[in-house]
């Protein structure tokens, strides 16, 4: 029997299950508005990395520039700082007709892309980025889908395989599945900070023999749902692996700004690749993804991400371009957000000190959240949480008692989904079940977002703790 048949994702593809949880959260909010009595006054939604909806404020500089770009009369007024006005003026000159309502070229506003490539070069300490290889899209998932479309031949036999982590961001799984890819799971090592062992990649690849034609490895770094930040050594091993096995590397790096311990640094795959030198640096084919949805800027609703393509066959360029071009372009406000994120105020600029203060406040909040939540999780019976260094979520393991597992089965739910339903109904906390992301068979987890205000985190932990103790007591 193939290892793939008992896939850890099997349940996550039953989209209905966790979509229903979201639907119930929505319903509960409505019921609260209508004045229905509940054991809680508010729903605490930590189900997704939706910063602004859970108390993290938008960055002032960013929003001021948006306002000035949308309504250029503000540029002539004295209501906004000088650097905001200058930035807006410059951006509008880069837009067709001086309007953010115009289409842009397919890959994005050329000057914005150019500045993004400069940011990438700076971030990666010299590994030069070519703006010609950058495509801005309505969100990084959109870019990922387009790259997958090029890679995945739905009608091929054997089918196109993609090595994917367990656990893995659920939207990526869904997207690959909808395109007709076969997911080949590789397990992250929970006991060791969710580390990626290259031997596990080898095992996964071997398991695909005779089942599908593996063509790519999808890696999320920092991870989602687990916030592991890959070590350079691990990344080098991955690069060697994809080089030897002739696989495309898909590096989802949207959480690169979410590092919250001092002993971790984010390295981009393209940087490590470049440092390894030839033959790797000029042959490994890499697509790396970034987004304005996360980090400190948290502008998820604006929908903008990019993919940077490294070492791809130049003869593919026209095809790639045409595929992206039929979608017109990324939303212009989102492109502007990407520009501001990668080119923030500098020391000496009027907005710099406020900007830095706001970033620092968010970073401190998240660091404290992670510390606090980890401590609380580890104090709860049958909950264990291994320290992670980055990302936007905590993914504690819950050893659910047999009775709970039984009850879940009776309701035709995964055990951790059952736990999340009870949590929602009894406390108003909306977290996501681990089954949505895939996990080692028999294990259960929940995913909780840490990009929230301190108050919300404290309230969340209070509600969750008392619920958990009750739940374990009643169902042991």
């Amino acid at each position: 029997m193939s290892v793939l048949q008992n896939t850890p994702y099997g349940r996550s593809l039953k989209h209905l299950e966790y979509a229903a949880l979201g639907g119930r959260a929505y319903q509960i909010r409505k019921e609260l508005k209508q004045g229905l009595e509940k054991p809680f006054k508010t729903v605490i939604d930590v189900s997704s990395g939706n910063l602004h909806s859970a108390g993290i404020k938008p960055l002032t500089f960013v929003r001021q520039v948006f306002a000035a770009c949308l309504y250029p009369q503000l540029i002539k007024s004295n209501k906004l700082p000088a650097d905001v006005k200058q930035r807006a003026q410059a951006l509008l000159e880069e837009c067709a007709g001086g309007s953010v309502g115009s289409y842009t070229p397919t890959r994005g506003i050329p000057e914005v892309i150019h500045r993004i490539s400069q940011f990438i070069t700076w971030r990666d300490k010299g590994a030069a980025s070519n703006p010609e290889n950058i495509y801005l899209t309505p969100g990084s998932q959109w870019a990922l889908e387009n790259i997958l479309k090029i890679l995945v031949n739905r009608l091929a036999s054997p089918g196109t395989g993609i090595l994917t982590p367990v656990p893995c961001y659920s939207t990526s799984i869904l997207s690959m599945n909808l395109l007709g890819a076969i997911l080949v799971p590789y397990y992250l090592d929970e006991e060791n900070g969710w580390e990626l062992h290259v031997q596990e990649l080898h095992r996964a690849l071997a398991s695909a023999k005779g089942v599908c034609n593996p063509r790519a490895v999808y890696i999320i770094n920092p991870g989602n749902p687990v916030g592991q930040v890959q070590s350079k050594k691990s990344m080098q091993e991955v690069i060697q692996f994809v080089y030897e096995k002739r696989l495309i590397l898909l590096a989802d790096e949207v959480y690169q700004d979410s590092i919250y311990t001092g002993n971790s640094t984010f390295y981009s795959y393209r940087k490590v690749l470049s440092e390894m030198g030839p033959p790797f640096s000029d042959t490994v084919e890499l697509a790396s993804f970034h987004s304005v949805s996360k980090g400190f800027i948290g502008e998820c609703g604006l929908r903008c991400g990019y993919v940077e393509l490294v070492n791809l066959d130049p003869s593919l360029k026209d095809y790639i371009y045409k595929l992206f071009s039929k979608d017109s372009c990324a939303p212009v406000l989102g492109q502007i957000a990407m520009d501001l994120m990668t080119n923030p105020p500098q020391p000496g600029d009027p907005s710099y000190s406020l900007y830095e203060a706001e970033i620092r406040a968010i970073r401190d909040t998240v660091t404290d959240n992670v510390k606090r939540a980890s401590a609380v999780f580890n104090s709860l019976p049958c909950v264990s949480h291994h320290p992670v260094n980055g990302g936007a979520f905590l993914f504690p393991k819950i050893d659910l008692p047999t009775k709970a597992v039984q009850k879940a089965k009776e309701e035709n739910l995964e055990p951790d989904t059952f736990y999340c339903y009870r949590l929602l109904e009894e406390t108003g906390v909306y977290a996501c079940p681990g089954s949505e992301y895939g996990q080692a068979a028999g294990s259960h987890h929940i995913r909780v977002c840490t990009l929230i205000s301190r108050d919300v985190m404290e309230e969340l932990l209070t509600r969750l703790s008392s619920f958990h103790r009750r739940f374990m007591k009643n169902l042991s």
Binding site: L13, R303, K326
Partner: protein, 546 residues
């Protein structure tokens, strides 16, 4: 006709869920009704699909190749030969090679190179603001207030703009447009869209649950096509689309590996639709594919024709009789200029035809914030209204839209304003009305002028531009030019447009990018708000090649 007819788009014949679950074996009762692709094979004999027969497997591909100087270099992992074959067939003329050249020329101009023109005029794309159309002040004020709510304390903004901004922000998570919304779109916006549709359609009820906000209308159109396309070989889905058409359709169909079924609009009769032609196209297509949907763009793109109410009724009857899913692309619904022409929404006509049709015909209609009097393409705002969709298919639709996470929230906010503009008595009403009227009048005036000017030129004939934003004139290309084009491997109208670009800086899109009857040539010209400079250029070309 029975009201309990089996849906055209049902759980049994919709969107294959990839290949089944990963590895293929995890099935449970809930999935048994869903159709899954099994043992897919390409049918080499299918005439309408020229998919590459090259294997996509890695086996047998060269690991190394010789480069020019005889050095062994490593072959690429992802190549033209092993990429997804359907992606290779995607063309999108509106942003095609001629536009690339236009951008190059712009760069050269900015670097000081001398050209026979001072600026490149990008008349290739339906981008209003790029061509000088002004945004609606009220909309931009509200959006600025939503972006930076500190401005709500500013008394230079009108009160109605502020109250709108409040309302929009309250519907956003954490009162920020930067939060994800629900995948289907913000509920209060969908409710407002439904009310707009009810008002527009003379009170015909509209259920907000049938409204899906999208990333531009294109996103909605592609999503629906993804749901529709399935099957293999002779049962592969065929989608009917007008010729000429907006090339998003042909691009999406190519990428999805669907069969494109062309029905020709009648150029001699102002690009009207002819049911006989629909029937012809359908009958022929049934020989080699499974036609499942009929796409219609009204007002038309690139042709601008506005369908009569009778025509729309006839199309609905045809779709009902032939069991076709109707896709009505109505993004230009406010752009109607010609006397005697009026926009009739498919939804309205459908419901006015009574329950025999309104309870059974499956329809998706699309709208956008990119066109009309708003012209806010860069916001990527849009919606689709779905009528009579099977509930289980709706579940699949929910999955598809969730991969997008959500449509851009500023676009959703903008759509809310479009469907809910200032009302008489409100502070911003007068200026809103003035701006809107001025924009639509300018477009109408220029539409007429464009047609007139083009028709004075020998060798160009232009149908009246009844609506939308373009003219699609027919051009006579001299034999000598055709020969030269062929020698270069170019379509004659591409050759013509390239020459036009190099000599005048005007960037057009050749008719071959939209489809046209064999042996005819056209170009699509976005109606300018400034001078129309076409006439002399064509004259020179004809002179040069006669």
């Amino acid at each position: 006709m029975s009201a309990t007819r089996i849906r055209i788009l049902s759980a049994r014949n919709v969107l294959p869920l990839g290949r089944g679950q990963s590895g293929g074996a995890q099935r449970s009762d809930g999935d048994s009704k869903l159709r899954l692709l099994t043992s897919p094979h390409l049918s080499p004999s299918s005439p309408a699909r020229a998919l590459s027969s090259l294997s996509a497997t890695r086996r047998g591909l060269p690991q190394e190749k010789m480069s020019e100087n005889g050095m062994m270099s490593r072959a690429k992992v992802l190549t033209i030969d092993n990429m997804n074959p359907t992606v290779k067939k995607v063309e999108y003329a509106v942003r095609g090679p001629i536009v690339q050249r236009a951008l190059e020329l712009e760069r050269e101009l900015s670097e000081g190179m001398k050209k026979p023109f001072a600026e490149v005029i990008k008349a290739n794309i339906g981008d209003a603001h790029a061509m000088g159309q002004q945004p609606i002040t009220f909309f931009r004020q509200v959006l600025a207030l939503c972006s930076y709510p500190e401005l709500l304390n500013d008394n230079t903004f009108p009160e109605d703009a502020k109250s709108r901004a409040h309302r929009i922000l309250q519907s956003c998570g954490g009162n920020s447009m930067g939060s994800y919304s629900a995948s289907q779109g913000i509920e209060s916006v969908r409710k407002d869209v439904a009310l707009y549709i009810e008002r527009r359609d003379g009170g015909m009820p509209c259920d907000p649950d049938n409204i899906y906000l999208t990333t531009g209308a294109s996103d909605g159109i592609v999503t629906m096509l993804k749901l529709l396309v399935c099957g293999e070989g002779a049962s592969r889905t065929g989608i009917m689309i007008s010729i000429p058409q907006y090339p998003l359709y042909s691009a999406a169909l190519a990428e999805l590996g669907a069969v494109q079924i062309n029905y020709y609009l009648n150029e001699e009769n102002c690009w009207s639709m002819d049911i006989n032609e629909l029937q012809r196209a359908l009958n022929e297509a049934r020989e080699y594919c499974n036609p499942r949907a009929l796409c219609i763009i009204n007002p038309g793109n690139p042709t601008g024709q506005v369908q009569s109410r009778q025509c729309i009724e006839d199309v609905i009857r045809f779709a009902a009789k032939e069991r076709l899913f109707l896709m009505a692309d109505e993004v230009y619904q406010d752009n109607v200029y010609a006397d005697g022409c009026e926009f009739h929404s498919f939804k309205k006509v459908l419901f006015e035809m009574g329950p025999e049709y309104s309870k059974s015909v499956e329809l998706a209609s699309f709208h956008s914030t990119s066109k009309c009097y708003m012209g806010e393409c860069g916001f990527r705002g849009g919606y689709m209204e779905i009528i009579n969709m099977d509930d289980e298919v709706k579940v699949q639709l929910t999955k598809l839209v969730s991969v997008r996470l959500c449509p851009p929230v500023p676009g959703q906010a903008l759509m809310d304003l479009v469907v809910n503009p200032p009302q008489p008595g409100e502070p911003s009403y007068d200026s809103f009305l003035k701006e809107r009227t001025a924009t639509l009048n300018a477009l109408a005036e220029k539409a007429k002028l464009t047609e007139q000017v083009l028709n004075t030129v020998q060798g160009i004939s232009c149908n009246p531009v009844q609506g939308a934003m373009y003219s699609f004139p027919r051009i006579i290309i001299p034999e000598k030019a055709i020969k030269e084009a062929m020698a270069l491997g170019q379509q004659p109208d591409m050759f013509y447009c390239m020459k036009m670009l190099e000599e005048t800086g005007i960037c057009l899109v050749p008719g071959s990018g939209f489809g046209q009857k064999d042996g005819t040539y056209h170009f699509r010209y976005k109606i300018p708000l400034s001078r129309i400079r076409m006439s002399f250029c064509h004259f020179k070309f004809t002179l040069q090649y006669s």
